[in-house]
């Protein structure tokens, strides 16, 4: 009798570990609360695994059909618990208490920063493991390294000067992207050099500093804001001379996802057009 009991216990334990193993390698539904991760999951061909998204996830178009499970990095606990997904992925901004609540309900939660290309690489590897698609992940890693090397080689061979750039995230007060930020990394691959070097993150900077640094180009991420009506800006040469570049799709550039390289390519070609025009009209020396 006792032996039988032990056997049952052993079996149950085995079953449990097997189950949890299965959870790790081949999860059920996945909830992504970060647009970049949603894009990555779809890019790896695992869109079918997604059961819910954040309100900010809008690419590819097809994910908009999915139900939402919270805002960007802000899970709606009850809704997610009701969906009973196996995995929730987001960046590190999620409130740790929310993450603990999900984990207690037996849902795996993966929260990691995603600010630059190294973070992206790590996410690709992790997703390959979590979603059981190591092959696709490996391909994406190769593509990533290839694109980055390509941009660098292209820039080196063109023998162009780096353009000094100001990234405007918000116009009034002036919020910009500092060193180590994603726009900084993206811009570097497009041949830009951030004028803000001493400050990290997304600081508010003084206009006097901008006037002194006199950037060659202003990359305008403050999408619907207008620089023409703000008189404080008129002293900046790049503004006066019309060297303000609005990225075609800033979601591709500000999201560390698979589309980022297309965004960089677009930015690069837009810059080339802008400065080709300027050179021919002869009023700016980059």
């Amino acid at each position: 009798m006792r032996r039988l009991f032990n056997l049952v216990l052993l079996l149950a334990l085995l079953c449990l570990t097997a189950c949890s193993d299965e959870h790790k390698s081949a999860p059920g539904g996945v909830v992504s609360l970060s647009p970049a991760l949603t894009e990555l999951i779809c890019h790896l061909g695992q869109e079918k695994r997604l059961v819910a998204r954040s309100t900010a996830c809008d690419w590819p178009e097809s994910v908009k059909k999915l139900p939402t499970a919270g805002d960007f990095a802000e899970p709606e606990l009850e809704r997610i618990l009701a969906m009973k997904p196996a995995l929730v992925v987001s960046n590190e901004f999620v409130n740790p208490k929310d993450a603990d609540a999900l984990r207690q309900a037996g849902i795996a939660v993966e929260l990691h920063p995603c600010d630059g290309f190294n973070d992206y690489r790590e996410w690709v590897i992790l997703m390959g493991k979590l979603l059981d698609c190591p092959h696709e992940a490996e391909n994406e890693l190769k593509r990533t390294d290839g694109r980055i090397a390509g941009f660098e080689a292209e820039f080196n061979s063109s023998q162009k000067k780096t353009l000094r750039a100001l990234y405007v995230i918000w116009d009034s007060p002036l919020l910009t992207a500092g060193a180590d930020s994603l726009p900084d990394a993206v811009g570097r691959l497009a041949g830009l050099e951030n004028i803000v070097k001493s400050e990290k993150g997304y600081p508010s900077i003084s206009l006097e500093f901008v006037l002194k640094e006199d950037p060659d180009v202003i990359v305008w991420f403050a999408h619907d804001k207008d620089w023409k009506s703000n008189p404080s800006w008129s002293g900046i040469r790049a503004i006066r001379e019309g060297r303000v570049l609005i990225p075609r799709d800033d979601s591709a550039l500000l999201r560390p996802g698979p589309r980022i390289f297309d965004g960089i390519a677009d930015l690069k070609s837009d810059l080339e057009t802008m400065f080709a025009d300027k050179e021919t009209s002869g009023d700016a020396q980059p």
Partner: protein
């Protein structure tokens, strides 16, 4: 000391602070480069606008705070009490979050002004017996309501918009339009100062309470409403221009009153000038300490104002 001599001393301090505001900044410019190609160096131009904005905002807040403290007979009264800060914050956040800021640079300040004035009018409309105490309570209530609505708006917003709202609320004299913001505010400040100089005797009498003022020829209820509305309007205009800047309207009137006595005819202009000096110096300090990253001037004023206020508080205890 004679009033004229006091005013001269403050005027000299204000001029000195203004000169420093133009000379010093995030970068070092030699005097020879102040004028380039017959035009003013844009950096110098920027500093002039910024310093002038600090002066006008500081003076307005000090005058507003002086009136608030006198009329409410409360040494903790400050310009934003009657719903102005909450209303302005709500207006600005609404403009930013609902996308009205795309209409142009002036849309956020205008919405902030609208929010502040609306909240202020609501206070006056909601409080039936407009005594100082009840207006004060009504103001705190409406302000709290506006702040919680603001928090709701921020909760529902995207992180980038949220950063914009938060930064806007912190206050800065960097993004000021000289023609559309600074000039009208300066005109309002001058008009308010002249009006208050004529009515300084009434303000003095109101500090003894409304009944005393009534018994000495002041229509106390009407004057209370007029003075508080004027002081709130001054505050609202500065908030729409430079965000919420703490301590200037609280500490500066205190210092001036302690130094020169209570007669408002005597201390009104010194208080205005002291406010201008205070904010100009706070702005210069912020620029010099942190040349690249912009420190919110409201933070600098609070950091400087807090110890000064505590020192004054303890000094008065020891004296009495």
């Amino acid at each position: 000391m004679k009033t004229a001599r006091i005013i001269l001393i403050y005027l000299a301090a204000a001029l000195a602070a203004a000169v420093c505001g133009v000379l010093f900044g995030a970068t070092r410019i030699p005097l020879s480069e102040f004028v380039q190609d017959g035009a003013l160096n844009p950096i110098v131009e920027l500093r002039i606008v910024r310093t002038a904005a600090a002066a006008v905002v500081g003076a307005s807040l000090a005058v507003s705070g002086l009136i608030f403290q006198a009329v409410l007979r409360n040494s903790l009264a400050e310009p934003y009490l009657l719903g102005v800060s909450g209303g302005a914050g709500l207006g600005a956040a609404g403009a930013i979050l609902l996308g009205f800021s795309a209409w142009g640079f002036m849309s956020v300040p205008l919405f902030a002004l609208l929010g502040a004035v609306t909240a202020n009018l609501l206070v006056f409309a909601a409080v039936r017996r407009r005594t100082a105490e009840e207006l004060l309570l009504g103001g705190v209530m409406i302000g709290t309501l506006a702040s919680s609505l603001l928090m709701v708006l921020i909760t529902f917003s995207h992180s980038r918009d949220m950063a914009g709202v938060v930064w806007w609320m912190l206050g800065s004299v960097q993004n000021v339009d000289p023609a559309r913001q600074l000039a009208p505010t300066a005109v309002l400040l001058c008009a308010a100062t002249v009006f208050l100089l004529f009515r300084a005797g009434d303000v003095d009498l109101l500090t003894f309470g409304p009944e005393y003022a009534w018994n000495h020829g002041v229509n106390a209820r009407l004057m209370t409403v007029i003075l508080l509305a004027l002081a709130s309007l001054l505050a609202a205009v500065t908030v729409s221009m430079a965000g919420i800047i703490g301590f200037c309207g609280l500490v500066v009137p205190h210092i001036v009153r302690r130094l020169h006595g209570g007669s408002h005819r005597k201390i009104l202009i010194p208080a205005a000038l002291a406010g201008a000096v205070y904010l100009m110096l706070a702005d210069i300090l912020g620029r010099v300490v942190s040349p690249v990253r912009e420190l919110p001037v409201g933070m600098v004023t609070a950091a400087v104002g807090c110890p000064v206020f505590l020192w004054l508080l303890n000094r008065s205890r020891a004296g009495s």
